[in-house]
């Protein structure tokens, strides 16, 4: 049978982006180890609601580890103690009876807190809008099999393309750098034949937007890779640097408007 545990939670509460915010302590009792971390928070929220207290706001949606909506820094680690896992797929068996758990939002200047544990990640969207696409319209494209792609290349591009855009890399980085996020998309297209025509403009435009949003520089310490829930590799950043440098050296035309 499931093991049950009692926990002490120190949760970041902040009414809105103007509020200073503070930690508030809650007890979570009789939590089964086969619950997910967010189900544990659901229980805390149900109790708060019954008492007429404002429940803790946190972002979440699919609860399958793929949508990238959930976040939370748990005991100092983005998405908690278990590697290769989003918060929604973290289960309470990773914790033990009597433990104190500190729960905070992503902390980064480019991700302002909206309320409690939810932050504004629209900066990520704007980086993608700067160049994370191939400039083609619907219709009028060639038959899919006219573009053969070696399996090895396709697989590598896929690995980069699996980024879920959660922002754990930024939260993990002491400089709040978004290099891993940006490099994943740049790499996907740099590897694939479809991405070649705008390869260098893309790298430049996305990096420029990343800088404009206020993300910091890469620290080269690899905290992002260590905390990434889907295993995006640091080699993507190496590739991004190459792409960006090439774009600077062989500056062709200005990025697309």
């Amino acid at each position: 049978m499931a093991q049950h545990m009692n926990l002490t939670l120190k949760v970041w509460r902040q009414k809105n982006d103007k509020d200073k915010g503070q930690f508030v302590t809650y007890q979570a009792n009789d939590i089964a180890d086969d619950m997910s971390f967010l189900e544990m928070l659901d229980i805390v929220n149900e109790e708060l609601t019954r008492k007429g207290e404002d429940p803790v706001y946190f972002d979440h949606d699919c609860r399958e580890g793929i949508c990238g909506m959930c976040s939370l820094v748990i005991n100092g680690r983005p998405h908690g103690p278990k590697e290769g896992t989003t918060t929604c797929q973290l289960h309470m068996r990773s914790f033990h009876d009597g433990q104190t758990i500190v729960i905070e939002p992503w902390r980064a200047a480019a991700f302002p807190v909206l309320k409690d544990l939810a932050v504004d990640r629209t900066a990520f969207d704007r980086i993608q809008q700067a160049g994370g696409y191939v400039n083609i319209n619907t219709g009028g494209v060639p038959d899919a099999n006219t573009i053969p792609i070696p399996k090895r290349i396709a697989d590598e591009a896929f690995e980069s393309a699996t980024c879920i855009g959660c922002g754990a890399c930024v939260a993990a980085c002491k400089n709040a750098s978004a290099m891993l996020f940006v490099s994943a998309k740049v790499s996907q297209f740099a590897l694939l034949p479809q991405g070649q025509t705008e390869r260098y403009e893309r790298a430049q435009a996305m990096v420029d937007q990343m800088d404009a949003e206020g993300f910091g520089n890469c620290t080269n310490t690899g905290a992002c890779e260590a905390e990434c829930p889907v295993g995006i590799k640091l080699t993507n950043i190496a590739r991004l640097n190459r792409e960006y440098l090439t774009a600077k050296i062989f500056k062709q035309e200005e990025p697309h408007a």
Partner: protein, 644 residues
Amino acid sequence: MLDSKVPAGPLAQKWSNHKFNLKLVNPANKRKFTVIVVGTGLAGASAAASLAELGYNVITFCYQDSPRRAHSIAAQGGINAAKSYQNDGDSVFRLFYDTIKGGDYRSREANVYRLAEVSVNIIDQCVAQGVPFAREYGGLLDNRSFGGAQVSRTFYARGQTGQQLLLGAYSALNRQIKKGKVKSYTRHEMLDLVMIDGHAKGIVTRDLVSGKVETHAAHAVLMCTGGYGNVFFLSTNAMGCNVTAAWRAHKRGAYFANPCYTQIHPTCIPVTGDHQSKLTLMSESLRNDGRVWVPKTQEMAERLRKGEIKANDIKEDDRDYFLERKYPSFGNLVPRDVASRNAKEAVDDGRGVGKTGFAVFLDFKEAIGRLGEDAVRAKYGNLFDMYYQITDENPYKQPMRIYPAVHYTMGGVWVDYNLMTTIPGLYALGECNFSDHGANRLGASALMQGLADGYFVIPYTVGDYLAKLGSFAPVDHSHPAFEATRKEVEEKINKLLSLNGTQTVDDIHKKLGHIMWEYCGMARTAEGLQKAQGLIQELKKEFWTNVKVLGENEELNLSLEKAGRVADFLELGELMVVDALQRAESCGGHFRLESQTEEGEAKRNDEEFAYVSAWEYKGDNVPEELHKEDLVFENVQLTQRSYK
């Protein structure tokens, strides 16, 4: 009278002829029109991007913090297309036929044929966008087989096909946002439809962050808001998935079709307890190599449940591979409704496994022996990891436990061939509409339909409506209808906030879920459905008198968001039950115990029920009126569906 507007002529020429007959909007005039797209999943993102590329001004809305998070992202297995790359006998007609048959002959022929026809364009489009589909060593695209089909026509990107397709559509959308042709609103929820002179002319939204209730005007509104599986509380849908946009439009005059058609997906991780917030699906592709079984005897199942023996202790001879036994030609790859029902039967027979007894085994031992563990890992690694993560059991060493869970809703807003609802100017795309999957959807067809509607259908059909408006003038945003509708929404919000009872919104939602699962789930009876209707009516009263909604409107307010959605689920739940009650036949996912063959298969009644039920809202607490769209089959013969 419901007019499906299906064009005349031979099946294979209908769409081409129709495209020629549709009116066009001159490129210079397209920029004078604005289109609202609600929801940014596969249907919404692809529609918004394609319409903006054509020159229309587009405004998109999603409740998530980014368009990329729509629940299409969670689709795992793949997307069907009649490319016939495998030389195994596939064709547009075969995909059409499989889909019609898979839907148990309760979908519209012309729509399904068009879906099969444009499926080939979808793959081309996605590859051109840079979607990294799985490939063979020669560099060409790989395919796999999926339930309900005997050819390999499913394109995939490991177990993350939905993610990759959605990110492709999201990239196309981003390109248009950058160009200024799309204005994107995130963390916004549609709460009503604004009508002027009987036409859809805008929507009312709530900004989930500031609480601001706003109106937006447009010449046409596209609802791409997904399905309503969360009416069951527990489903494989994302936590935020809801019926609110569609339901509020229904109350404004959009008919709701076949609400009782719900897909219960066979390969989900079983429920463990009351605390559970959602169910996790594992791709049906697992059934390509996994074998479904339970012990042959109840005694053995009982010992398993008590933990006295383990699955691996049970000898081959003592196992019942019930799908292989009953359906030798399709085996473990029977369609979802058949697989789910058989799992339920095994459990009802006392042969269920796991601690709760509500599970059957999905076993990879044979596949690992045949292909090796590495090959199995390459194919299904992420699914195995996910299972391990959730259950703490290693599926490479012992069989998975699976049980059916609510996954997809075939019913939805009624649309004609142009995807227009019964409200002129209001369209429904993707899972939100009812049109293509009949009473049961085949695997890998949801992604196909979402993208078909968005990339290749709506760009043609919406132009026809706009061209016929007879004016290029902007919609008059100062029209009193906007303010009046906004006020109604505000009043409803205030009413919810004034409720200060003792039950949480989740308490009520869970109760509704139990009623729906018990009486309107995998097996339904007239008696049970009647009972359910009464229970839901009582629960609705309880909600409006005894629920507790905290906080205020002007903030991120979890209770308020959920309360509005559950209020709509309660009304929808009743309609589902009413619809299930009137359909006194079994078909696809709708299984009426009173209507089965001697072997226990779903028994249709084509004489009486070969129609789409389309419900018209008549006012609060007034029975809805049933309209019937007769289904005419000219190209397939209606037979008892058999996968034996």
